[in-house]
């Protein structure tokens, strides 16, 4: 077995897990803008819990994509081209979502805010679903030919696994966001988020469990099945802590749940990175899809320096903005335009 490709398989699994852990809650908060928040103030409370961090979280996606390109170019090429249309949707969703965060508060009218609220909620939903579908398909397979190209037209990727994976990430994100809001807000939002978290947890973990179990049935091993069982225990702990008002522990337990679930899925898929549903000989594996040892070695050195740094300064960001956000912290929306522009627009003389 090759050492460096194995390390990079693990590294990419870690990057995706980091992405799901961090962007998981901000995608969920985005969806909750429409599902949970009752008025503009609550929506602004939600937004400001993720305001300083969502962009940094999204870079985990770019890094996961970039690392896949660099470490497993054949995996990157086959997966991204086979999922052309779903990834297009993800891109459009991420574009609108990003712009919406920044532009929502820039014009003080209800209609303007409503448009961008929808962009945030729908963008978060579509992005989460698309990423989930793509990850599920890379663990369960796509109709790839010998060259690694998709056979069977633009929708040949569609399968029950895609839907399951999509729901898995959507549901996990919602749950994770509820745990996050309980931890990061105060007042009514905090209590309602905790209540929702406890009530919905048993349902929202089902799709991700379904995905994990499907992968076990396809290619599971003893330790990965044990990981699934351990993940269920972690979810039970999260529920227990949530019920007893221990928000920090509930959030962390859910993180452990994600870590174990993701380990069970990637672990079961290993060493195949992208199975072909046409012929197992066309499977992309860590051996036939990877870059040279030279490139992987270089990347390993850089990642060993870079990744701990990223974790350190991102952790610091969360520390700086550790204060709970509540309605009382939200400044009033300002309507500055009249002052100068009204004068500027008025005819002179």
């Amino acid at each position: 077995m090759e050492l460096l490709p194995t390390i990079w398989f693990i590294a990419i699994a870690v990057l995706w897990t980091g992405y799901l852990f961090l962007e998981g809650f901000d995608l969920g908060v985005g969806m909750l803008m429409k599902l949970f928040a009752r008025n503009n103030t609550e929506r602004r409370v939600l937004l400001n819990t993720i305001g300083p961090v969502w962009d940094g979280n999204e870079v985990w996606l770019l890094t996961a994509g970039g690392a896949t390109f660099a470490a497993f170019p054949l995996w990157y090429a086959s997966l991204f081209s086979a999922l052309y249309l779903p990834l297009l949707l993800v891109l459009v969703a991420l574009i609108f979502r990003a712009v919406a965060f920044e532009y929502r508060g820039k014009v003080d009218t209800d209609r303007w805010r409503a448009v961008w609220d929808w962009a945030i909620a729908a963008g978060s939903l579509v992005a989460a679903f698309g990423v989930g579908a793509a990850l599920a398909l890379t663990t369960t397979g796509l109709p790839l030919n010998a060259n690694g190209d998709r056979e069977g037209g633009p929708f040949a990727w569609f399968s029950g696994y895609a839907v399951l994976g999509g729901f898995a990430v959507v549901c996990f994100s919602l749950l994770h966001a509820l745990a996050f809001l309980a931890l990061k807000t105060d007042g009514d939002v905090r209590h309602r988020a905790r209540r929702w978290f406890v009530r919905l947890l048993p349902v929202l973990v089902l799709p991700i469990a379904g995905w994990a179990i499907s992968v076990q049935l396809l290619s599971g091993e003893a330790w990965t099945m044990a990981a699934v069982a351990a993940a269920v225990v972690a979810a039970a702990f999260a529920w227990h802590f949530g019920r007893n008002g221990l928000e920090g522990r509930a959030f962390l337990s859910l993180g452990v749940f994600l870590l174990l679930g993701s380990a069970s899925i990637f672990g079961a898929a290993f060493p195949v990175v992208l199975p072909s549903t046409i012929n197992a000989d066309f499977n992309l594996t860590i051996s036939n899809a990877s870059s040279s040892d030279y490139t992987l070695g270089l990347m390993t050195i850089v990642a060993c320096v870079g990744l701990p740094l990223v974790l350190a300064y991102q952790a610091w960001t969360y520390w700086v903005f550790r204060r709970r956000v509540s309605a009382a912290h939200i400044p009033e929306a300002h309507s500055f335009l009249p002052a100068i522009a009204a004068r500027a627009l008025a005819p002179k003389d």
Partner: protein, 533 residues
């Protein structure tokens, strides 16, 4: 149109669009960081106002660069899977490093800067902006390393038909990248310079037009105050300082682009001689630089082109640094390319229907010829305008002319045009190669790839057309939104970025933000957030 053509249009459109936002992000980021540093050191209120105002515009634009940047990374795999397979070993690394070492830094520290006005100490807060801006410079470096490898592949060996990286140092210090990085950074600063200049001009003009500033008998400005929030004497200082900074930045960066561009040109005459011959629309070997060529510049037969005005010796100077060396024209290069890389595309399934077609080695000459001249022309025009602007405002304000004000505002577009033209020139000029062969006789010259082989074989023209239409549509809508927001905030003036000015028109250092002398008290529990979405 077939899949290849659509994929190329898509890449071109999304990249040029993305590169409208990026230079403004890089350039304005640097300028805002310097301005905030001045405020930190001097405590002068006009520099806080400038930081807030230009910082607000910076953020409105920044987010568009972020949003459209993700498309770029995904697009290689989605639309250009054969390209990704071929170059992944060497091309993926700079992209991954860009994300890991630059994007994380940029986005995390910018988040700290945006939201941390109160939570962080002034010095730390300023450092966050600098770190974010340096991150954006690094991001430019990594992406240009990747691009330069396509222009001039180095540091690889062909193993099993694919280039495999053997010398990372060579890849990351590719001479093509080392000159392209400063060229791009100066280009970005030119955009920021023009942006400051045009907008500051508008506000100085507005103040005169509204009767706030007047001009004395000696022609010197007499700054005044009006009973409008933010329209005080400090506001005057904001705009005159911005205008002068913008003009100086614009002139310095044009000089920078000219110097680095000259170095780039000399390299390119060696590395991609056909691109430079096509930039000149020069058929025959010669020494003269064409100021104007007419005829059918886009003609396949370049003997249809007649150079009307030609300056002898200049082409040799651009290429070699003297006035006499003959520079090879399209015709002699064509024979050389045909001999080295074949006359027809190989009979290989990766070329699809194009297998066996004749290879067109001459790039589209009206694009290379005019792209090259638009780049230089727009850049020079902007620098000249900056010089004129400095002279015209020597007595402290702008002329009362509305037409001149409009010209200054429209002039903001010129450096954007120069940037776009430069990239279109260099990318189109590389055709028909996506990875141009390196003519260095060290044996690396077989590392090249025709664009015709790069597109995703499994993706249909219908899918590509869908994404082209969707992305172009989304981008068009968002461009309208961004420009309207920018215009709104520009018109609103400083108060649009500092609503606290409307409540307390003077002494905003004390009022809203902890002063640079460290009197700030971070994290007061009952405070509302200093910045909130």
């Amino acid at each position: 149109m077939d899949a290849l053509e659509i994929a190329r249009w898509q890449f071109g459109i999304t990249t040029v669009y993305h590169f409208m936002m990026v230079p403004l992000t890089i350039g304005l980021g640097l300028v805002v960081a310097v301005i905030q540093t001045v405020w930190y050191r001097t405590g002068k209120p006009e520099y806080l106002r400038m930081t807030k105002f230009w910082g607000k515009l910076f953020l409105i634009n920044f987010i568009m660069g972020v949003a459209t940047g993700i498309v770029q990374e995904f697009q290689f795999g989605m639309a250009w899977s054969e390209y990704s397979r071929f170059v992944g070993d060497v091309f993926g690394a700079p992209l991954a490093l860009e994300a890991l070492l630059a994007f994380f830094v940029e986005s995390t520290f910018l988040g700290l800067w945006i939201f941390g006005w109160k939570q962080l100490k002034q010095g730390v807060h300023l450092a966050c902006l600098w770190i974010a801006v340096i991150g954006s410079v690094f991001s430019a470096y990594f992406i240009i390393v990747a691009n330069s490898w396509m222009q001039h592949p180095v540091g690889v060996e062909m193993i099993n038909g694919r280039p495999v990286m053997t010398d990372a140092w060579a890849v990351f210090t590719n001479n093509t990248a080392l000159v392209a990085v400063p060229h791009t950074l100066f280009g970005a600063l030119a955009v920021a310079g023009g942006f400051l200049l045009g907008i500051a001009w508008y506000h100085l003009w507005r103040r005169r037009h509204d009767g706030i500033d007047t001009v004395g008998p000696d022609g010197k400005v007499i700054p005044g105050e009006a009973d409008i929030p933010g329209r005080d004497k400090a506001d005057y200082k904001v705009w005159i300082a911005s205008l002068r900074i913008g003009a100086v930045v614009a002139m310095i960066s044009f000089a920078g682009t000219a110097l680095t561009g000259d170095l780039q040109g000399k390299l390119m005459f060696e590395q991609q001689p056909m691109k430079m011959a096509a930039a000149e629309a020069a058929c025959h070997d010669g020494t003269g630089f064409s100021v104007l060529s007419v005829g059918n510049v886009g003609s396949k037969n370049c003997d249809d082109i007649v150079a009307v005005i030609e300056v002898p010796g200049i082409l040799s100077f651009l290429a070699k640094g003297d006035f006499t060396t003959e520079v090879k024209g399209v015709n002699s290069l064509l024979d050389q390319y045909k001999a080295d890389y074949g006359t027809h595309l190989p009979d290989n399934p990766i070329y699809g229907d194009r297998a066996g077609q004749e290879i067109e080695y001459v790039p589209v000459m009206e694009v290379t010829y005019w792209g090259f001249r638009m780049m230089i022309g727009f850049g020079g025009l902007a620098a000249l305008a900056a010089l004129v602007a400095l002279w015209a405002t020597r007595k402290g304000t702008v002329p009362a002319s509305r037409g001149l004000m409009r010209l200054a505002v429209v002039g903001i577009m010129a450096p954007f045009g120069a940037n776009a033209a430069g990239w279109i020139f260099t990318e189109m000029g590389r055709q028909p190669f996506v990875v141009a062969p390196n003519p260095d006789p060290s044996g690396i010259d077989q590392v090249f790839m025709f664009t015709a082989a790069a597109v995703s074989p499994g993706v249909s023209a219908g899918e590509l057309l869908t994404s082209l239409v969707v992305l172009t549509g989304v981008y068009a809508v968002l461009l309208v939104v961004e420009v309207r927001l920018l215009v709104k905030y520009i018109r609103g003036g400083v108060v649009s970025a500092m609503p606290e000015l409307a409540h307390a028109p003077v002494d905003e250092n004390e009022d809203a933000t902890p002063g640079p002398d460290g009197t700030g008290k971070p994290g007061d529990a009952d405070d509302v957030l200093a910045f909130a979405y």
